[in-house]
């Protein structure tokens, strides 16, 4: 029986997570879910972000389903570093998986790209790089202030995520991996990534490879997103590129993500890419599709591929049937998805 920790979070988080759970319950009866009230609300109440005891409890679950945390009233970094990144690092979620598809029925912003043509997945490194928190400042608030941020990259960390990307590509139809970095400027980290990529590629003669600088990749994601299959890149580049990929496939309202510890030594975490959207919270109009697609990634990770496929099919049907301009109701979308997934 799958044991899921649920962090609904703030803003629209609880609204969309409720639909994701509805769908999960439908396709996998008997899921045990425990709720954790982490996020801005708890921080305001207790000034605690993630007590160690809660971290230990979370570790005992098979997976975490997260809605969205954050609120303009919380200082930048508090919940990001204290909760989201803390979990990614504590649970060694080194594969930050972000698929982007242009679904039928979704009007993307690109005039020359048709539904069905874009189906890519970004394998973003999740535990290293500029997210390591290795920065500091001196002479703060004086004219002499200097602030640093350090990108830390290890062969260990780079190799394992590149291996994951190749393994995923080998299971896909086009079998292609694109490495994105900035080897011409970030020569040390870039060289480590490129050499490791070449070494792993040599073990996969069946997988095609290419390299692109991050600025070029950002451009091609807009002009030719069809060209990508699996993209592997570092933590910060992945953060930026996945938002572009989401934008060209209909927006972050549809973008799912998984922070995955592939070995299962720790729970993996699944969350929509969108934030807590305080402007529309409480109105029942948030699109739960990204949360539901994140639940599908969760099912996949726990080995329930068939259930995951049924959720994806339900989403495909839902999106194909949407009429532009007709406002959606969060609950109704969840009901339809749950019903379709078991039909």
């Amino acid at each position: 029986m799958a044991r899921i920790a649920v962090v609904a979070g703030d803003g629209i988080g609880p609204e969309v997570v409720a639909q994701a759970r509805k769908v999960l319950d439908a396709v996998l009866p008997g899921v045990q879910a425990t709720e954790y009230d982490l996020g801005a609300a708890r921080w305001h109440r207790t000034k605690e972000v993630l007590p160690d005891s809660v971290l230990t409890e979370l570790a005992g679950h098979d997976a975490i389903l997260l809605g969205a945390v954050g609120d303009p009233t919380v200082p930048p970094g508090v919940l990001e570093r204290g909760l989201l990144l803390k979990l990614r690092f504590a649970f060694d979620q080194y594969v930050n998986l972000r698929p982007s598809r242009l679904w039928s029925g979704v009007a993307g912003p690109l005039g020359n790209v048709k539904p069905g043509e874009v189906d890519l997945v970004v394998v973003r490194e999740g535990t290293e790089g500029l997210y390591a928190g290795a920065g500091g400042s001196l002479h703060r608030d004086t004219p002499a202030e200097v602030a640093t941020e350090e990108s830390l990259n290890t062969r260990h960390g780079v190799e394992r995520v590149i291996r994951d990307a190749f393994a995923r590509a080998a299971r896909r139809e086009r079998r292609k991996v694109t490495l994105v970095h900035k080897t011409n400027v970030l020569t040390h980290a870039g060289s480590l990534w490129a050499r490791t990529f070449d070494a792993v590629a040599a073990e996969h003669p069946d997988v095609a490879t290419e390299y692109q600088h991050v600025d070029a990749a950002a451009m091609f994601l807009v002009t030719q997103p069809q060209r990508y299959d699996v993209v592997v890149t570092d933590n910060l580049f992945g953060d930026i590129l996945t938002d572009i990929a989401a934008a060209v496939t209909g927006g972050i309202g549809l973008a799912a993500s998984g922070c995955i510890n592939p070995e299962g030594a720790y729970p993996s975490m699944f969350e929509p890419v969108h934030g807590s959207a305080p402007d529309i919270a409480g109105q029942g109009i948030a699109d739960p599709v990204a949360a539901v697609l994140s639940a599908a990634l969760l099912l996949e990770q726990l080995g329930h591929s068939e259930s995951a496929a049924r959720v994806n099919a339900a989403v495909a049907a839902e999106l194909a049937s949407r009429v532009p301009g007709v406002p959606l109701r969060t609950e109704e979308v969840g009901d339809r998805l749950a019903a379709h997934a078991v039909s």
Copy 2:
């Protein structure tokens, strides 16, 4: 009499620079141009990238016009670090200026954005951040390898580029500056940028301001590029965002840039954003518009605003008259632009 150093460079560099010079000569008769053969070809011949003597000579000019340098046969980083970045740093070109306009006649990739609606300029910091070259590696080529890249940010460097951005915004119609960073993860550098931005903003009550995380900005550049006026950001974020801005306004074939030392203590450098494009070099089919627009930025910087405006008008007329599908000839475009600019 303006003294210009010309670095035509590799691939299509010489072809497009020839047109930029044609236009410059037309609108500003008597420009003195000296050619410098830096780039991949020279490196192959001499294994030298930029001798100190040449650097000193370049320093004696009012501006540098650069085509494109690079070639797949040169190892990554050699020309980038040794020439382009060397010049930006040696000549303290801290304002890396990248305007993006969706010109009439240009079919951008975005279905819902019409010509005339996008007119933004990115003021990218040019002398700090992850471009400082402060990185290294240990235990190279072993399983224990670690590679670092450090982003260095000073109050001095951040403040001067933010001041430039506000000064530019104050001269524009919409008078708005967007700061882009990643304050929720890069908390030290992000805080320095945000505090400095707020301090400078307080001196400009007439300029509207906003802040966006880099991932959100990357997305909004695709979904709502119209919202931006002046964007100020760090060196690496600027590298990525300007390629997105170029992509949504018709591609890097039209994107100009200036690496500017606003005080004029050193020469500023003007170059198209595109590279040397070896695949189409020598065929006379490269679009010289980006190089010509870079020459217009050069004219502007040297105080010849009226000539700059005439070059921009010539480009506007050229682009408005283009018939989709009709191949262009580099020389003919240059001839038309030069003729129009003085008509």
